[in-house]
């Protein structure tokens, strides 16, 4: 069944060979190096979803019959699993969304439109994914607010000196990623949140690349909002999470409105439902949320310390192997300061050509701007190739990537 941890004593590394048996997709022979994009899903996740479809498929929060009660119960059970996973104080602080993008948009819309005013400063960073830039640009344009971006240094790490200077200007909001999806940079989130809070800002942390790979303790982190996606952490697409501090969520108006988010609707007006349902209008992604619950169970069983330790070992291995290749440039910080993501370029070979050649070897590699065009511009490149790892990634897959790179160099020599 579940792999990775012996009864009683916590194990630091993962039993990858056993874990891989839970992922039928590897029987196809692919080397999957695109987990920062979307992860693979184990049988436990797809099985939980199939069980819903085949045994108790029904709508939640409405019907009085038995299978609908079971659906509601399982759907709500994910909330408690997630609360525990991120150590939130209450399930009222756990809002289901379609993913990180929707979670950030929810905050930009419901919190931002209420609290951000003309002349306010919003602080973002040049490392951000488009989903943590565009919603704020739209908000800033609408409200007449200003956005400033924290730059990176030559190692791809945020310039903390510049961050402090921006905090001195008392920003209304600070939003940044826990881990950069394009470079793998692990930001000093604890220190940054503490400094931003001390400066009086509301703080959103984009945990899309953080929650799946190193986990989070939102109470220790101290942020106001934390957003992440289920599909990057072994769960299905279409289910993600917004954590928000309760008093903030209470003060916000709904994002979407309609069924299920109401208490009473009269022709004269409506009273909204309590948290968290106030933010969950319409029929939800029930199977996906149940699948996300199974994914959280799976990761919790492995232990996030073991997940991080495995990825770190693999990243060191890959970093070394790639650095040895002539004409290859790795972007970003040294392996000890990065997550399981390696962005690189090859002299004379466009990333798309490399990805096409790798694909012939069944090596799944991302090539492009990784939804981080401002960062690509900052690095002075149009695109990079990116290999990213997860709990099921093994060294053999890294070796296959190295083989594809050498093959590409042979073809393009």
């Amino acid at each position: 069944m579940m792999a990775g941890r012996a009864q009683g004593a916590p194990k630091i590394s993962l039993d990858v060979a056993t874990i891989r048996k839970d992922f039928p997709i590897f029987e196809t022979g692919i080397a999957y190096l695109d987990s920062a994009n979307t992860s693979q899903r184990p049988r436990q996740v797809t099985g939980a979803m199939m069980e819903y479809f085949e045994k108790y498929n029904s709508n939640i929060h409405r019907a009085a019959y038995r299978i609908a009660e079971e659906a509601t119960e399982r759907y709500e059970a994910t909330r408690e699993k997630v609360r525990d996973f991120i150590n939130a104080a209450s399930t009222k602080e756990i809002i289901y969304t379609r993913g990180t993008t929707e979670a950030i948009n929810l905050v930009a819309y419901s919190w931002g439109r209420k609290h951000v005013k003309q002349g306010d400063l919003i602080v973002l960073t040049v490392l951000e994914h488009h989903s943590n830039i565009v919603p704020w640009q739209i908000l800033a344009a609408e409200k007449g607010a200003t956005i400033e971006y924290v730059d990176i240094d030559e190692r791809g790490e945020l310039r903390q000196d510049q961050f402090r200077e921006l905090l001195a200007r008392s920003p209304r909001l600070v939003a940044f990623g826990q881990v950069s999806n394009a470079l793998g940079t692990i930001n000093p989130a604890m220190e940054m949140v503490a400094a931003a809070k001390a400066a009086g800002a509301t703080v959103l942390v984009d945990g899309a690349q953080g929650a799946p790979h190193q986990g989070v303790d939102v109470r220790a982190l101290g942020c106001d909002f934390y957003a992440f996606s289920g599909h990057k952490m072994l769960g299905p697409t279409g289910a993600g999470i917004l954590f928000g501090r309760r008093e903030l969520l209470e003060s916000m108006d709904p994002f979407m409105s309609g069924g299920d988010m109401i208490k009473t609707v009269r022709l004269e007006g409506t009273t909204y439902h309590d948290l968290p349902w106030k933010f969950e209008a319409g029929t939800q992604a029930i199977a996906e949320v149940i699948g996300l619950g199974a994914a959280v169970d799976y990761l919790s069983e492995l232990g996030m310390a073991a997940v991080r330790s495995h990825e770190r070992e693999l990243t060191e291995y890959a970093y070394e192997a790639l650095s040895e290749i002539e004409g290859l440039t790795v972007y970003g910080p040294p392996p000890s300061r990065r997550a399981g993501v390696i962005s690189f370029s090859l002299e004379g070979i466009h990333p798309h050509d490399l990805a096409t050649i790798a694909d012939r070897d069944q090596v799944c590699l991302r090539a492009g701007h990784h939804c981080a065009m401002p960062l690509m511009t900052r690095l002075g490149v149009a695109a990079t190739a990116r290999a990213s790892f997860y709990v099921y990634t093994q060294k053999d897959e890294v070796d296959r990537l190295v083989g594809s790179i050498k093959e590409a160099q042979r073809i393009f020599k």
Partner: protein, 135 residues
């Protein structure tokens, strides 16, 4: 690697040749038409300068950067366009460009292959960008 033959077929010798030694690469001074298009998804950029005399493309040069497919496709297209009457150039379509490349292009790479055609359509014909894209 066990799929060398397939790779070589995709990156045929003459495609690599056009990539490494692009024909008509550079800029024209005082061109009659100059237009540039990009594919933001992969950062490919292709621009073309045309000199047109008596309805004939007398000279053409292209510039830009990108993957082997986009650059080779542009190089091949300029070879075809040079000396061609505009009326004839107008007849060049998607199938011609892909046929000239002579390889099986996956849906993900089709925009790379057709970027230079888009430059031709939008620039030389003055068609709206959206129409060029549809093409």
């Amino acid at each position: 690697m066990n799929s060398t033959a397939a790779d070589d077929q995709f990156y045929r010798e003459y495609i690599l040749d056009h990539y490494k030694n692009p024909r008509n690469f550079g800029r024209l001074e005082n061109p009659d038409i100059s237009h540039e298009e990009d594919n933001p998804l992969c950062g490919d950029v292709i621009g073309m300068d045309f000199r047109v005399k008596d309805g004939v493309i007398e000279d053409i040069k292209f510039h830009g950067r990108g993957c082997a497919i986009s650059q080779a496709s542009a190089s091949l297209l300029t070879e075809r366009l040079k000396g061609l009457p505009l009326e004839e150039a107008k007849k060049i379509g998607k199938a011609d460009v892909l046929g000239e490349l002579g390889i099986d292009i996956s849906p993900a790479r089709i925009k790379c292959a057709l970027l230079s055609l888009k430059v031709l359509k939008v620039g030389a014909y003055g068609l709206a960008a959206s129409e060029g894209e549809e093409e």
